[in-house]
Symmetry: C2
Subunit: 341 residues, 2 copies
């Protein structure tokens, strides 16, 4: 395996170095091929690395900066004032080839804006899209995109999202001929708005994709489709709604198993059994939404991600590097666009 370097925005996220540095060490320990560019406050990073073994420390390189983009800053303003921030330096490291991917838990809007500005979209892509892999009841994964990189999506953007999602499903999740569906308010052809119907027309005519038609919200997790496409507003609300319902169920069940003795023991056992899969809907465990459609790999972690969640995001980025996701999307787009013309 060739050298694999990921640029980590150490200062980003709700907890900054307190979470990113332990996650970095854990990721380096579990993946011996991984190198990390740690971008952030040198003093904090150095003092943390003291405890690491040589074999881990030798696979890190520090780029010092104390500048960080605040979470609450408006993206347009954040981008204007992004010089020397950890997020921007991480993205520039990917552009310059010093790293093959960037992971950040920082300001989502700023990350998407800066990534698009610095890394540029692939030819044929109007706007990048955020995608995540959700667990489904068939013990597989279902990719959902866009999760909020865009607030309004045209039919051609939805079509491009479908192509990008299909490539990711094939390359990263080993799904042959992934079933692609459009999220809509009904399964019948007449349902939805003009944009959705225009996207459906375009997808139906594209023989390079295994397009299945419309899918409804209640089937997102049933494994009926491998790639589900929607505009960023709908995707963002949908994902957060799922998180909300999942958290609610888990908290209800946990609160009822706080009793003592045998019941508590059995309750915990049941909880573990029953939710071994569904617990994956817990954002801690599926963290790592990829920004697809750029000339580089960018993985966005939840702002509130804990150590384990951030490790998942780093691993996600590593896998995308190993599978050359951007190059494969570009190649597929070329083929599809040629066929459609």
């Amino acid at each position: 395996m060739t050298r694999l370097t990921i640029a980590l925005d150490v200062m980003g996220g709700d907890f900054g170095p307190r979470v990113t540095l332990p996650a970095a060490l854990q990721a380096l320990t579990s993946n011996p091929f991984l190198h990390l560019l740690l971008i952030g406050d040198q003093q904090i990073i150095l003092s943390y690395l003291k405890s690491a073994s040589d074999s881990v420390r030798l696979r890190t390189k520090i780029i010092h900066t104390a500048q960080v983009i605040p979470n609450e800053m408006r993206p347009s303003q954040a981008i204007r004032h992004s010089r020397d921030t950890s997020m921007r330096i991480a993205l520039e490291a990917v552009k310059e080839g010093e790293a093959q991917a960037c992971v950040s838990a920082g300001n989502t809007g700023a990350l998407m804006g800066l990534a698009k500005m610095i890394l540029k979209p692939l030819p044929g892509i109007e706007r990048p899209a955020l995608v995540a892999a959700l667990p489904n009841t068939l013990r597989g994964k279902t990719l959902l995109l866009d999760l909020g990189a865009n607030v309004d999506s045209s039919a051609s953007m939805l079509f491009q999202f479908a192509v990008m999602g299909a490539v990711l499903a094939e390359e990263l999740y080993a799904m042959p001929a992934p079933r692609v569906a459009l999220l809509n308010i009904g399964e019948e052809e007449v349902k939805g708005n003009d944009t959705i119907r225009a996207a459906a027309e375009r997808l139906k005519q594209c023989s390079a994709l295994n397009y299945q038609g419309y899918i409804e919200g209640n089937d997102i997790l049933t494994g009926k489709a491998d790639v589900i496409v929607c505009d960023g507003f709908v995707g963002n609300v949908t994902l957060k709604t799922m998180e909300g319902v999942a958290r609610l169920f888990l908290s209800q069940l946990r609160s009822k198993t706080q009793t003592n003795g045998l019941l508590r023991f059995l309750g915990r056992w049941l909880l573990k059994k029953a939710f071994s899969r569904m617990g994956e809907l817990n954002p801690d465990q599926y963290n790592g939404a990829s920004l697809l459609g750029l000339r580089g790999i960018v993985v966005k972690s939840h702002g509130g991600a804990n150590q384990q969640a951030l490790v998942c995001a780093i691993e996600q980025a590593a896998q995308e590097v190993n599978r050359s996701v951007p190059a494969r999307i570009a190649a597929r787009l070329d083929a599809v666009l040629l066929k459609s013309d």
Copy 2:
């Protein structure tokens, strides 16, 4: 209490009279003030009513028709061919004053189109909206609208939905000064698309509403708001997504408690305890989405509703009659529109 008559579309829904008639009898038995207009195949209805007590049977009136709007028919076509169908007769009974409300589990698009055509929107309402009351973690209810009566909503429509939702919350759910929020992809003012931001501006300036700002998908069920407003596309996908996740959790837990003996017993007990509230997310138990904004009361039941779910829908309609919901919405709209002018 004055006489309360509800027109029931006996033939509508996935199961037709097999579900609607048992539900009708159950609703009549539990509410001694209720009268039902049973609209459907007279022979089927009569043979079913044989088993009912006199006191129940005397509170029914049959309007015979064997015509039914198919579930899968395109709404525009269904409306053109709606003459003499059970759904249309039920709506006309409300228009003519023979009933004060209509309940149907039939074709949603057709019901919304016909209801708008026959009952007409209230003054100041561009389009009616579908609303449902969801259980929240604070042991209360949260109203969500629009759930799919419209696929595209303007800022002024979102504003009207907010007014209608607030009136329903006050009148039917006894919430004083209900907290109104707009569903968005972030809480900051800059988030979302132009339509959402324009609606937010309008709501901020309306002193007659207790507008709280934006809310995200993960807070729909946390009780942070009493009335959550969104466009029909987003609302429909969101509601179905919640149903999907809820069903998944329940089915997972049920399948793990199919074992024998003590464990099974304890598992069932835990299931019951933990999900006494969350089980309400089961569509069977919150069935009954009201179509607000018309000069009459229309409650839409799930097509696949079972007997209990349909009883809920009938009860929902009865409560709206008792609280004169359309008249109160009209009055509030008048006041709000006067103030805004």
